[in-house]
Symmetry: C2
Subunit: 166 residues, 2 copies
């Protein structure tokens, strides 16, 4: 796992450009009452898949932003492998999503906020580089971390306030 | 993780009844050139979701039997939680599927063959009872193990033979 602190400027700028779009997807989730996580997949500077968390609306525990983005990218590329692709996501992937990324043979994952509870790209589990698994992917963390974190905190605070009023 | 060896007869019979159907789903995958894994989800002795591995046909690395069965069951029950549900699957779930089962709050998982490479219900990882995760589910292994294993072995042998002929 690499911190975003020491990235060359041009690379940091590219990562930021896509992370802003992932944040906009997360905001869409927020506005629809979903835990605000957004994800997109890029290949050769072209977006090939997008997703935002839709677990509530789709009534489906597997409908995380990353899973939807992976399926969309696979459809776009007509391939079950996402070779040379990068996933941008506002929150560190959980074990389900990280293992899906491993299966898809993605090249790298760039995430914003750390998930200290379920993060599976180094925080709680490490599905990104695990000798037991057949594919490793690079991880860059901390791109627009504060913005990604603030949105999640605001969402959960709002949820608690709603619960408190019931 | 519990072995199926000491189950009461009536329970073993129920598990076998559903595992036979999971095997039939796996055979459908086999016939379509997919790694033969089949899964179904049962609630109150009623099948609420089915799936078989379709990663090749759907060009989607996330299209494992269990993921498709979970999404189908969530649709049937109009719920993102699979409370009081049991998943029957011919092969031990991988980390992606086991974490999806954790998110879905499934009650128990009954599997046939052990996956010594990727199994995440006790073999390589343990997503079924992990203090870091917010839900635990029961695991019963070994129902019709030999039949499930034989099908996978035959499939991979056939694949190797095809590769050898190229």
């Amino acid at each position: 796992m690499h911190s975003s602190d020491n990235l060359p400027f041009a690379l940091a700028r590219t990562h930021r450009k896509y992370m802003i779009q992932a944040i906009q997807l997360a905001e869409q989730a927020y506005d629809e009452g979903e835990v605000p996580v957004g994800a997109l997949i890029v290949r050769n500077d072209r977006i090939v898949g997008k997703g935002y968390n839709q677990a509530e609306q789709l009534n489906d525990a597997t409908a995380h932003a990353e899973m939807l983005a992976i399926s969309a990218a696979c459809a776009t590329l007509s391939s079950k492998y996402l070779t040379d692709c990068s996933l941008y996501v506002t929150l560190e992937p959980c074990p389900m999503c990280a293992a899906a990324l491993m299966w898809s043979k993605i090249d790298q994952v760039i995430f914003g906020a750390v998930d200290a509870d379920y993060g599976a790209c180094g925080s709680v589990f490490n599905m990104a580089s695990n000798a037991s698994l057949n594919h490793e992917f690079k991880v860059i963390q901390g791109i627009m971390e504060k913005e990604c974190e603030a949105m999640l905190k605001a969402f959960f605070r709002e949820q608690r306030d709603k619960e408190g009023k019931k």
